[in-house]
């Protein structure tokens, strides 16, 4: 059984992960070279283009998402889920125990 806190934690965690990797990845592509998150250099090793989004922002979003998942886990350690036994419920509805 999931409650509002479970759903909010999982949604926020996934949203932050996908924002950091996919959404900002798309923004990075649309922003032009470099398409990755590292600077582009010429043959002399000089930086000729910086990523449009600081990699620290993207890694920070992902780690924040994972941290929320971890905090939710700690919450579930402190407050165990109290769902119904689905197997018993199914058996009960079909009349067999």
């Amino acid at each position: 059984m999931t409650n509002t806190i479970d759903k909010a934690a999982m949604a926020l965690s996934s949203a932050l992960l996908l924002a950091g990797i996919v959404v900002l990845g798309l923004v990075e592509i649309l922003d032009g070279v470099p398409y990755g998150a590292a600077p582009t250099t010429n043959e002399a090793g000089e930086v000729i283009a910086q990523p449009g989004i600081d990699p620290a922002v993207r890694t920070g979003l992902v780690l924040a998402g994972l941290a929320i998942l971890g905090l939710w886990g700690l919450y579930r350690v402190a407050v165990p889920a109290t769902g119904v036994d689905r197997r018993t419920t199914t058996d009960a509805t079909t009349g067999s125990q």
Binding site: E28, G36, A38, L66, G73, T82
Partner: protein, 174 residues
Amino acid sequence: MAYDVSNPHEGEFDLGRVGPLVPVWIATLRVVVGWWFFHAGVTKLIESGLNFTAGPSYLQGMGDTVLGPLAVWMGTAIPGVIGAIVPLAETLIGLALIAGALVRLASLGGAIFMAFFWVGNAEFGHGVVNGDLMGLLLFVTLLVLGAGRYYGLDAVLERLALVENHPRLRHLLG
């Protein structure tokens, strides 16, 4: 990750209908990831013992990253602890995953390691999704799946009286 006290033998994510390969594959994946960390740790122990000096130096160089303040503090304030804990923890995490014991606890530790590697290595030339992030996500996946229950010792440990009497301990097991 959550453990349902009303139904300890069946989670909401049921793998039972997707074929017999799934538990075998999860166990295989767990052992491979375990070997990855065990190899990394035990070779450091052989080479440097409990004085892995590259660890603190690595953390001190993470100043510009999102984990910078924490990493730099760890590298400068407790270098001796870092030098000992890196090879030791990598080895123990690897052994735990190979044996399938305390897999969730070990996977959490592995995920923390990989978070520092992902951010610290910052090899993002082909984007932020690189091998380090994949390693991080592998540990999270093993943690979420409770991978120690599949051909692992956690399946035995969770039947011990100690665990039966203290169900919260299952959060550390597979």
